[in-house]
């Protein structure tokens, strides 16, 4: 009688495969001393090596920073901070002791400037910037309050475009009392993908015709199709300075690439001597307690000068080595008890 019952039970028997009975072959790692202690030691030594390399590279980068906000009366740009001065030009003199190795990169920097604020960051109309002319007539509402002015739509609309940085710089080297212009290279200062893919001019020749019945942004002095009249590939929305500005920074103190110094006599860098920087001071920062500065820098495989990463690697590396010694002591003292 039991056999009949058991025959019925066989039909309901669960399957006996390795997968369903949890008998799959498995790797069972164990945090054993033979792996952890040498591992920490190796990681510590590797980190110390990387840290030393990073620090040496960082120390070899030359950086020269000049603040030109003009808040102190002794600053050459002080008179430009007076209220409502337009087209003010100030000159900053400085000298370089040793050869500043090229290629030299010239940045402008701002502090206390929050390009990462949410409302500021969404305030642009992407369809305009890709060259879609139908959005020239009706900009997106994200651009408020920089959407329309005098009843006409603004192109390019939004707060990011409106606040574009408009100081310009000219660098002169003083040789025998005479000022010699240092040539700047403004090609390819924005990301390749920004220039070639993300931003497009509308398909009109001349470009001006696309902007009929639109207004330029309130803060700008020239409309978008006059940003660089000498070079059509740098005009309109694909202007390199515009692209650099539109790539908004993550942190409140940032610097953006302005030009490169790579041509002519300055191919190998800026030779030692006296220099004079002529600044067209247009951008107001004092109202929000920001500062403006220019930075000369050369770069290496790890980018600009940044000592934090090298020091962090060194510190963490030494801590790893110390920890491995501590763990060795703990392992030796509290050897795992051999009991069932």
């Amino acid at each position: 009688m039991t056999t009949m019952k058991e025959e019925g039970n066989y039909a309901n028997r669960p399957s006996n495969t390795a997968f369903t009975q949890q008998r799959l072959p498995a790797w069972q790692p164990m945090l054993s001393a033979g792996v952890v202690i040498p591992g920490f030691l190796l990681i510590g030594l590797a980190f110390i090596g990387i840290g030393v390399g990073l620090l040496i590279t960082s120390r070899s980068i030359q950086v020269l920073e000049l603040d030109y906000t003009g808040t102190e009366t002794s600053s050459p740009c002080y008179q430009c901070t007076m209220s409502n001065q337009s087209n003010c030009v100030c000159k900053l003199s400085f000298s370089i002791g040793t050869l500043f190795k090229g290629p030299v990169f010239f940045y402008y920097g701002l502090t206390n400037y929050f390009q990462n604020q949410r409302k500021y960051g969404v305030s642009k109309d992407f369809n305009q910037l890709i060259g879609d002319v139908s959005y020239f007539k009706s900009p997106s509402s994200d651009c408020q309050p920089y959407q329309r002015v005098n009843g006409k739509p603004i192109v390019p609309c939004g707060a990011i475009a409106n606040s574009m940085f408009n100081d310009t710089f000219k660098l002169y080297q003083i040789i025998n009392g005479k000022e010699e212009l240092v040539p700047f290279d403004g090609k390819g200062i924005a990301w390749w993908t920004d220039y070639n893919i993300k931003y497009r001019n509308p398909d009109y020749t001349p470009l001006k015709n696309a902007f009929n019945d639109t207004e330029k942004p309130v803060f700008w002095t020239k409309p978008a199709y006059e940003l660089d009249t000498s070079d059509a590939s740098n005009n309109g929305f694909i202007n390199q300075d515009f692209l650099v500005w539109m790539r908004r920074a993550a942190l409140p103190n940032f610097r953006k690439l302005y030009r490169r110094i790579t041509e002519g006599n300055y191919k190998d860098g800026l030779p030692a001597g006296n220099y004079s920087l002529e600044i067209s001071y247009n951008y107001p920062v004092i109202s929000f307690e920001g500062t403006k500065k220019v930075t000369f820098s050369n770069v290496s495989w790890m980018g600009g000068q940044n000592e934090f990463l090298g020091i962090a690697y060194l510190v963490i590396g030494s801590m790893c080595v110390v920890m491995s010694v501590v763990m060795l002591i703990v392992y030796a003292k509290f050897r795992f008890p051999e009991e069932d």
Partner: protein, 257 residues
């Protein structure tokens, strides 16, 4: 997931005590979890912040822009979370491997796809927020990878060190059982005494045999044909006893000769 089989639990009922005493899910462990999360969050933000705040790319262009920073943080986060799962998994079957490495691979595949030029041309309005090109532009910098390496190891290494020290100084019963199992290759039950009561029922002992090798034995119906369940160790023991008796008998007879 524990590597200790149910068979082992049957002979070591003390292994059930961590579950009964709520050792793995109580207020202390929850608090420790929160503290670890806070530490991880601070590291995940401030290390990239300090490393990127005043630097540029290899070619001098911008690296500290909003979208690059976001991608950097996301990558660090994905790697840290997956590494934490790696540390917490004690029993790695093929499925575990597939899901862990697969999710990391999927993250990178999706990032590069979403940042690709092709997808941007097909759906410009959807993908502009994202960042066409950011993945490539930021993740091809050695600086970025060094930051990711530092951040992830800084989040993981303290956990590993603390776990190792706690296993050495105050091992839980599961740690001891794991170590015991690692040292002994065979299943521990073979060398132990049989259970106190002998089972007389004809039902299969399938429910008790959850380690490899016993399932086939049970399902082959061998047990169902016999009156009393004959267990291999009993058989071996009786063989040993028989052998002893034979040798003793020979010895006795030889000495008496």
């Amino acid at each position: 997931i524990d590597c200790i089989s149910h068979f082992t639990f049957f002979y070591y009922p003390k292994l059930y005590t961590p579950g009964q005493r709520n050792m793995y899910f109580n207020r202390t462990s929850f608090l420790l979890c929160i503290m670890q999360s806070c530490y991880n969050s601070l590291i995940l933000f401030f290390i990239p912040y300090a490393a990127l705040h005043d630097t540029v790319r290899q070619d001098g262009r911008e690296i500290a822009d909003y979208q690059s920073f976001a991608i950097l943080l996301q990558t660090c986060l994905i790697i840290v979370v997956n590494a934490q799962i790696f540390l917490d998994t004690w029993y790695w079957t093929g499925i575990n491997h597939f899901f862990l490495w697969g999710s990391m691979a999927a993250y990178f595949a999706l990032t590069f796809t979403m940042n690709s030029n092709g997808l941007f041309f097909i759906f410009p309005t959807m993908f502009h927020v994202f960042v066409s090109g950011t993945g490539r532009n930021s993740l091809n910098q050695p600086n970025t990878w060094l930051i990711i390496f530092l951040t992830c190891l800084l989040c993981i290494l303290p956990i590993v060190a603390l776990r190792f020290i706690f296993i050495q100084t105050s091992p839980t019963i599961n740690d001891k059982a794991r170590k015991y199992k690692m040292r002994r290759d065979e299943i521990p039950a073979i060398s132990l005494r049989p259970p106190a009561t002998r089972r007389v029922s004809k039902r299969s002992s399938y429910a008790f045999s959850h380690s490899q090798g016993y399932g086939d034995l049970v399902t082959s119906q061998k047990f169902l044909d016999k009156k009393t369940p004959r267990r291999p160790l009993l058989f071996v023991k009786s063989l040993c006893k028989l052998a002893h008796m034979i040798i003793f008998g020979f010895f006795v007879t030889f000495t008496q000769l």
